[in-house]
């Protein structure tokens, strides 16, 4: 066969190479030691000297031609592969994505964090206190002496017959403990678990979570309380929320209020606000002088306000939870919904 025919044959085979693997085999065959080029190179030393030069050049030309052909075919094949890939055969956009399992934070933790963040940014101390509490802190120091009706109505779990130790019925005792060791002025909140002797149903629970707040300073007024609560609601709901104060009676504040917030779920009444457009959010008031005095703070010099946020209630409100028993029920089907 003449060299020209060999080259044409080789080019034809290159053009027919169906994929990159065939092409790679072909490259080894053509350019390798025993291939077309190798044959030509092997012949060169046996040629008469004058022919060696031209033969060498011919070999180089052959190599260049084959290499160019191979590269061109490789580029063609790459283009075809890309085009085939881009056709995306077999893709089904409706096939569900595989689930990514994650963990979750309890809704009480989430709402507590949100509030703690808001209050921390306003310079409040975040305090913790015991769940098993002395009668003094839970009642006496809060202006709830023995025989006060609040002791019945708060339906207390007592830990001894003398009533010296109770499961705290609110987080307010933490404010007394704080006042005892801190010098005013101060601002603090105390989140935690509280207990009421109550049978449980969808809206009642004997164990729930609260957050007590206390500010003591000079000339603290009802206006400050309103301002603070509006700031808080802005932080929780991310928008301006109207509030209203109305009279409410709690032994450890005077005057005492119930603070209602304009319902965030409706314009003209809904199930959550029982059609009133107001949601009873928290009890609050100016700290009763007797409470300041019981904690060793001079009530003629200092005044303050206190408030009690229902964390369980807030968690239920913000997630639309309709049964309070889910909160401490430990059901994964519930917990999983609060992925972090």
């Amino acid at each position: 066969m003449d060299k020209q025919t060999n080259l044409e044959n080789a080019q034809a085979r290159i053009a027919e190479a169906s994929d990159q693997a065939v092409l790679a085999d072909l490259e080894r065959e053509l350019l390798g030691r025993d291939g077309l080029l190798g044959q030509q190179l092997k012949e060169i030393p046996s040629l008469p000297p004058p022919e060696r030069g031209p033969a060498g050049r011919a070999a180089n030309e052959l190599k260049a031609a084959l290499t160019a052909g191979l590269l061109a075919r490789a580029a063609e094949l790459a283009e075809t592969d890309l085009a085939a890939d881009r056709e995306g055969i077999g893709f089904d956009a409706t096939l569900p994505a595989p689930p990514v399992e994650r963990g979750s934070l309890h809704p009480i933790t989430k709402v507590t964090r949100k509030l703690v963040q808001i209050f921390s940014s306003m310079g409040y101390h975040i305090l913790d206190g015991p769940e098993v509490e002395l009668d003094w802190y839970n009642f006496e120091a809060l202006n709830i002496p023995a025989d006060h009706p609040a002791r019945d109505s708060q339906d207390t779990f007592y830990c001894d017959e003398q009533g010296r130790l109770v499961l705290r019925t609110h987080t307010s005792p933490v404010q007394v403990r704080a006042m005892e060791r801190m010098a005013p002025p101060f601002r603090l909140v105390c989140p935690g678990k509280v207990f009421r002797h109550e049978n449980t149903d969808a809206t009642h629970e004997h164990t729930f979570h609260q957050m007590e707040g206390l500010v003591v300073g000079k000339d603290i007024s009802v206006g400050h309380l309103v301002g603070t609560m509006k700031t808080l609601l802005r932080g929780i709901f991310g928008k301006e929320i109207d509030v209203r104060l109305r009279p409410g009676h709690f032994p450890f504040v005077e005057p005492g209020f119930e603070l209602d917030a304009r319902c965030v779920f409706c314009e003209s009444g809904c199930r959550v606000c029982k059609g009133t457009c107001w949601i009873e959010l928290l009890p609050c008031g100016l700290v009763h002088p007797k409470v300041l005095e019981a904690a060793g703070i001079d009530s003629s010099e200092w005044s303050g306000f206190a408030f009690g946020l229902g964390l369980s209630r807030l968690a239920m409100l913000s997630h639309g939870i309709d049964d309070v028993r889910h909160l401490l029920g430990g059901d994964l089907r519930f917990l999983e919904q609060f992925s972090c």
């Binding site: 933790t109 830990c159 499961l167 002797h197 009802v222 109305r246 005044s303 059901d331 089907r333």
Partner: protein, 808 residues
């Protein structure tokens, strides 16, 4: 408490007042109104009918056929069974289509062959009383065809006030007290009410002896000539509107006076009273009394009794005795109006589970000047209905009481400071005067006279007056203000910070779910876990029998969640951060010791082909290890120790968790659950699971140092990866094998990881194979094949010394 607007209208002009607006006003200034409802709405649907004719039904003895005018122009034929229906009467007619209480819809009908289009109603059918012997004959001559409610002037709106918002306001337990607030809110006058006693005769009063300080005042008014009579409709409707069922004139009047002034009262048959008169004394041990509700009450010495002579006739301030019931037709009465101390009434009523309208009011601490007014009010109303009654004797008035009215100084500047609003002295005086407080300006400010009805419990100090000013001024008129002051970053609470970091790491990378549990743990759980012998803080009044104990440890609380969750999920990953209480670590003041714990459970459906690193224990150890390293605790060790951390974990598959240099300090444990607990916990059978648990003391962790560690320079020379498989006797611990590898590596064997554990016949009995990935890398030179060969030779030699070998 239910408040009738028509009733309020007896004390203050309510013309033009919208019920919803009034409810809102009261809510914002006085007490929470929870609902506003129209009284007996069906009284507006039935109309006044004029009976034109009454004929006997031809086919029924007890029925008659009536023709009525109901103002439509044509007469209506109604078949009626009442014996008292007669021509000329005005009656209440429910026409076709009207719906009566009980969802009873009036239809056209045929009764024994006679058409009837409507119904003539009895009082019971309209929900007014139990009277059903005949139809209700309307009093007077109301307009034919008009709705009965309007025609009789008994249409009404009822406000429901939340009792909880009245606990400190004894004055609001009657309509007049509420009316005083309404008058102040509307700026209308409170109408006068004559509560003076009528003329009394000169006979000796009934003797009254008060032996106990629990009765501060006892008034006895003798009444003669009481005849039978019907309570006027307006009064019966007001009682009905406020939830009181009308009974008879005396009972209705008694209830009306209580609902009007808030003062409970009681009538006795004077002829039944002992000659010694009334004795108010404490009960004797073992004494009993059958109360009006026909229940025999076992009494205790602290219970206060009203006695006729020495015989108990009423439980003071709570309920009368069965025997003291005044029979209809009794002409000679004794009206009791007394003041009882709140605490004994509350104790007795709570102990007996007997809460009445009367006890609810006495518990609020009633004004001791009120009984006299209530007696006068009762007497004047009775005289109005029965002009023949007389009051033959002077008033019995016993007890040691004093007028609680007081004076409280008010500094107007303090009002402005506390409320945060620039209200003038004159404005605050006007507000206080509007609720009958006396105000006098003096050089120091204002001197406020607090009337007795507000002074028993509510108003004693300046802040109490500030509340009065604030609520009447309306808190909504106080502008919001912002706190000012030095901004000092609050101190860091390390325990809170640690707990929060744990939550993030566990819920994040570890994919655990946070739960919160009750602090109570059941006796049954403790028995199951063998924890019965421990001492616990316990409540003496648990909600549920056998659930009185407060947990010492959090972890057991999670065990009860395994079975229900495993029913729903193949794998359960839960954690809780909470508190436990240890009664033996009691403080000087009596507070039990408090511990803070992180508890974890990992429970997974058991599989036969679980590889060595997929077991729950291994995975939970990995989670704990990762958690603590992420929290920058150094030198973490899992150590097998002799002593079990708790009695209910696997006797062998458990490790203690230690942190810190040397032996480290124990901060918790990771373990498999004892296999014997699977059945009691319900995770057996189709729910058979592997379960690992961990408990970490946050308190112990906080005592350990944390440090971010220092930077390691990046390697300067390349390394290469080698896999080695080692066959060793079972009893050679993995720690020894890794020690041999590290020794053979001469400091260059790095990133050692076990990737397989294998047992099989080809290895021989009692042997296992462990496979490792590792990297050979030096920080002094580039290692070569030759270095690898010598590493393997050294390794083979080292393994030989402990009876192990490289697996080819």
């Amino acid at each position: 408490m239910l408040i009738s607007m028509r009733w309020l209208g007896r004390h203050v002009d309510l013309s033009g007042v919208d019920p919803e607006q009034l409810a809102l006003d009261l809510t914002l200034s006085t007490a929470e109104v929870e609902g506003v409802e129209r009284f007996a709405p069906y009284l507006s649907d039935v109309v006044v009918g004029h009976v034109l004719e009454r004929e006997k039904h031809p086919d029924a003895d007890k029925l008659c056929i009536c023709k009525l005018d109901v103002g439509t122009g044509e007469s209506l034929q109604i078949v009626c069974g009442a014996p008292n229906v007669a021509a000329g009467q005005r009656v209440a007619v429910a026409t076709v289509g009207t719906v009566l209480p009980g969802d009873f819809k009036i239809k056209k009908s045929k009764i024994r062959g006679v058409h009837s289009v409507g119904m003539i109603c009895s009082e019971r059918e309209l929900g007014l009383s139990d009277e059903h012997d005949g139809i209700w004959v309307l009093p007077g001559e109301p307009t034919t065809g008009a709705p009965v409610a309007e025609a009789l002037g008994i249409d009404d709106w009822v406000l429901e006030i939340d009792n909880k918002s009245l606990t400190h306001r004894p004055d609001l337990w009657g309509h007049r007290g509420v009316a005083r607030e309404v008058a102040a809110i509307l700026d209308r006058p409170l109408l006068p009410l004559d509560t003076s006693l009528p003329e009394l005769g000169g006979a000796d009063p009934v003797k009254v002896l008060v032996e106990s300080p629990a009765c501060s005042r006892y008034i006895g008014l003798s009444i003669d000539g009481v005849g039978e009579g019907k309570t006027p409709d307006w009064m019966r409707c007001m009682l009905l509107a406020t939830g009181q069922r009308p009974i008879d004139l005396l009972v209705d009047l008694s209830n009306f006076v209580m609902g009007d002034l808030g003062q409970p009262n009681h009538t006795f048959d004077r002829d039944q009273l002992a000659r010694d008169g009334i004795l108010v004394r404490e009960a004797r041990e073992g004494e009993t009394l059958v109360t009006l509700d026909e229940v025999e009450r076992k009494l205790r010495p602290a219970d206060l009794l009203i006695c006729s002579g020495d015989k108990a006739v009423a439980l003071a301030g709570i309920m009368g005795g069965q025997d003291s019931k005044v029979q209809q037709g009794t002409g000679r009465l004794l009206l009791e109006v007394a003041c009882f101390e709140p605490v004994p009434v509350r104790r007795t009523s709570a102990r007996l589970g007997l809460r009445t309208d009367s006890s609810a009011r006495f518990e609020k601490h009633l004004d001791p000047t009120l009984p006299l007014k209530a007696a006068g009010h009762f007497a004047r109303l009775l005289q109005e209905f029965q002009p023949d009654v007389t009051f033959p004797a002077s008033l019995a008035d016993a007890g040691d009481w004093s007028d609680p009215a007081c004076e409280v100084a008010l500094n107007p500047d303090q009002v402005r400071r506390s409320l945060g609003v620039g209200i003038s002295d004159e404005e605050m005086s006007a507000l206080l005067s509007s609720i009958d407080f006396g105000v006098q300006a003096n050089e120091k400010g204002l001197m406020v006279s607090v009337p007795s009805n507000r002074a028993t419990k509510d108003i004693a100090i300046e802040m109490d007056l500030i509340e009065e000013v604030g609520r009447l001024y309306r808190y909504g008129n106080i502008p919001e203000r912002h706190l000012t002051g030095a901004l000092v970053p609050p101190p860091v609470d390390h325990r809170r910070e640690l707990a929060e970091s744990c939550r993030d790491l566990l819920a994040g990378g570890a994919r655990f779910h946070e739960t919160l549990s009750y602090s109570f743990q059941s006796d049954a759980l403790h028995q199951m876990l063998g924890l019965d012998g421990e001492s616990y803080v316990s409540v003496i009044n648990p909600v549920q029998e056998g659930s009185a104990r407060i947990r010492r440890q959090v972890l057991p609380s999670l065990l009860g969640l395994l079975e229900p969750n495993r029913r729903q999920r193949d794998e359960v990953r839960l954690f809780e951060i909470g508190k436990g209480y240890l009664p033996e670590q009691v403080s000087d003041r009596g507070e039990p010791g408090e511990v803070h714990e992180l508890a974890l459970v990992l429970c997974k459906a058991r599989q036969s082909d679980t590889s060595f690193d997929e077991g729950c224990l291994a995975r939970l150890m990995a989670v704990v290890q990762d958690l603590l390293s992420s929290l920058e605790f150094r030198e973490l060790q899992f150590v097998a120790v002799e002593q079990a951390p708790v009695s209910w974990v696997h006797p062998v598959r458990r490790v203690e968790l230690r942190v810190g240099s040397g032996d480290g300090a124990c901060v918790g444990f990771v373990a498999e659950l004892d296999p014997g607990l699977a059945t009691p916990l319900g995770i057996d059978g189709e729910l058979v699971s592997d379960t690992a648990v961990a408990s970490i003391s946050l308190d112990a962790l906080l005592e350990q140092e944390r440090s971010g560690g220092s930077y390691n320079p990046l390697p300067r020379y390349p390394g290469f990866k080698i896999d080695v498989a080692i066959v060793a006797p079972e009893e050679v611990p993995a720690r020894d094998l890794s020690g041999v590898i590290e020794k053979a590596g001469k400091g260059n064997a790095k990133d050692l990881v076990v990737f397989d554990l294998f047992r099989g016949d080809q290895l021989g009995a009692g042997r296992r194979s462990l496979a490792y990935h590792l990297v050979l890398q030096s920080d002094k030179k580039t290692l070569t094949d030759k270095d690898a060969q010598s590493f393997l030779r050294r390794l083979e030699r080292g393994l030989g010394e402990i009876g192990a070998e490289l697996r080819s």
